[in-house]
């Protein structure tokens, strides 16, 4: 890897009761690269993702950020480091407006952030800028997020991650609810993140998306990291084999 390391997981594992979700694995994401994580349902992708963003603690191993070991790794601290996530469930609050969702947990306040009072107008302006940058058009930004279409909600979640993500953006099935044109647009946005020097982790079921975007790809199967592909080696055949664990000739 030529670029400096951003996030490094070393010997990280996780179990829930008697179920082993992840066996000890090593993973590394660098600045300016797109790392794809592939695997079928139940492979452990979500658990891995949650550990990466601090939503879940790992049972073993170490987590390093820019080469420095982090002993305290939760959502608040990962956000401070500039790590952002687009969760598969979007993690939006339906009752709130798109702007309120964009700023949830890091609202602008009056008096240069020294008072507890919300700076509604400042957030509205900044929010609209962010939406425009990513090409999202909303008829009414004061509408409840739950009243928007699935695609619009996904767009809000993506805009939120991109707007706040300064070092690493993790995307879990970011184009699941999007049409072809919108998906292509999101792919462009993901590429632009890499161009800006951010690290990108992309979890996707869509092999075509992985092949198109990823610099490197790792595959999880039953909680084990079973394969690692780079560059031109990232192809449908090898990916599918690693995901299913069956060689091409064996598929009935």
């Amino acid at each position: 890897m030529s670029e400096p390391s951003l996030l490094q997981l070393s010997g990280v594992s996780k179990h829930f009761g008697g179920v082993i979700a992840l066996r000890p694995l090593d993973l590394e994401v660098a600045q300016g690269e797109i790392l794809a994580i592939a695997g079928s349902n139940g492979a452990g992708k979500s658990t891995l993702l949650r550990i990466m963003c601090g939503a879940e603690s790992s049972d073993t191993g170490r987590i390093l950020f820019e080469g420095i070991e982090k002993h305290h790794w939760d959502i608040a601290s990962t956000r401070k480091l500039g790590i952002e996530v687009v969760h598969q469930g979007l993690a939006l609050v339906g009752q709130l407006s798109p702007i309120e969702n964009l700023f949830l947990g890091r609202e602008f306040t009056l008096g240069s952030d020294r008072t507890p009072f919300l700076a509604h107008r400042r957030m509205e302006r900044r929010g609209q800028d962010l939406l425009r940058e990513v090409g999202v058009r909303l008829k009414n930004i004061h509408e409840k997020t739950e009243d928007l279409s699935g695609g619009q909600r996904q767009a809000i979640a993506i805009v939120r991650a991109i707007g706040w993500g300064k070092r690493l953006v993790i995307l879990d099935e970011p184009t699941a609810a999007l049409g072809i044109a919108e998906s292509a647009h999101v792919n462009d946005v993901i590429r632009s993140l890499r161009e800006r020097g951010l690290g990108v982790v992309l979890v996707s079921h869509r092999l075509d998306q992985i092949i198109e975007l990823a610099d490197r790809a790792v595959v999880l199967r039953n909680g084990v990291l079973v394969g690692h592909l780079e560059g031109s080696a990232i192809k449908a055949g090898p990916l599918a084999e690693l995901i299913t664990g069956e060689h091409a000739g064996q598929v009935a």
Binding site: V93, L96, F117, D147
Partner: protein, 318 residues
């Protein structure tokens, strides 16, 4: 129904009910209901229930229930009067001490629900029964009456600018709580927790602390309601606040058909409180037996809960 019309009905539904109710009583009793005196009466009677309802609303906003509010209001009415009459504390000391007791009970509710993981319905019921116990421990179930500082009767019966002080108090609190809910970080985080706890957590919002704060605020507001009852009655009645629990729920759920459809809110609760009080006063003005009031209360509570449920389902299906 078009989308716009649908949203309009959802956002104003309860407001329309209130206006219709007022209109109905004005027509039924034009000389006795539609008077400034009666309007003052309605707003004054609504005061203690409104405060308790605001407390319940704060809990509802974060997605919880607080069953203790009625018992806490009763306890605090007794303590407030008792501290002045029996222990001869001044007004300020009596208020602060009463709030301290209420706050502690709210804290217990918060910890029981967020740390021990006890369901709020059961947990706060337990705290409510504790309040009941404390009530009888302190006062023995007797009414506490005696000389209290002048300010108490000023609050209970006095007026400022021609408006009863109790009305100014509850309307002012409504504004303050509304600003808190809409205009502060804690307010919006509370709404987020109530809307989607998981999403709130992923946004690094401290869910447990917010819920505990909500229970403390609920108890404090219930205490204020209880103290207001005592000020209005001129004595500490051990069961005076008990009945406010159901009204608080009814007002909160009625409120979800106003302002922010399908969501609990302070402005919504204000409308809910007024619907209830207009109903009670209207029935009284028409000379209807008290039994009818209970019927009205029960029906309205069911209507309010059903309305809330229907609204949610209609939103989901759109």
């Amino acid at each position: 129904m078009s989308d716009r019309a649908f949203k309009l009905v959802l956002s104003w539904g309860s407001g329309i009910v209130l206006v219709a109710l007022v209109g109905a009583f004005v027509i039924a009793a034009p000389t006795t209901f539609a008077t400034p005196d009666n309007a003052r009466n309605i707003l004054s009677q609504a005061a203690p229930g409104a405060l308790v309802a605001f407390g319940e609303t704060i809990a509802l906003i974060v997605g919880e229930f607080d069953i203790s509010v009625g018992y806490v209001a009763s306890l605090c009415g007794v303590l407030f009067t008792g501290f002045m009459v029996n222990q001869h504390f001044g007004f300020t000391e009596a208020v602060l001490l009463t709030l301290a007791v209420a706050g502690s009970l709210g804290l217990i509710s918060g910890l029981v629900v967020t740390r021990l993981g006890v369901n709020a319905l059961v947990g706060t019921l337990g705290v409510g029964i504790m309040a009941l116990g404390l009530n009888y421990l302190y006062g023995g179930g007797a009414t506490i009456a005696g000389p209290t500082p002048n300010i108490v009767s000023q609050i209970g019966y006095g007026r400022s600018f021609g408006i009863p002080n109790v009305v100014l108090i509850w309307l002012a609190l409504a504004v303050v709580l509304w600003l808190f809910s809409e205009g502060t970080v804690t307010g919006i985080h509370s709404r987020a927790v109530g809307g989607n706890q998981q999403s709130a957590r992923l946004a690094s919002i401290k869910v447990r602390q917010l819920k505990t704060l909500a229970f403390v605020m609920s108890a404090l507001l219930a205490a204020c309601g209880g103290m207001l009852i005592s000020a209005q009655l001129g004595s500490g009645e051990p069961t005076a606040g008990d009945g406010y629990l159901l009204d608080a729920f009814a007002a909160g759920f009625l409120g979800s058909g106003f302002y922010r459809a399908g969501e609990f809110s302070i402005p919504g609760t204000v409308v809910g409180v007024l619907i209830l009080q207009v109903g009670y006063t209207g029935l009284a003005v028409l000379g209807q037996p008290t039994a009818l009031r209970y019927l009205f209360e029960g029906l309205i509570l069911i209507f309010a809960l059903a309305l809330s449920s229907v609204v949610r389902r209609m939103r989901a299906s759109r």
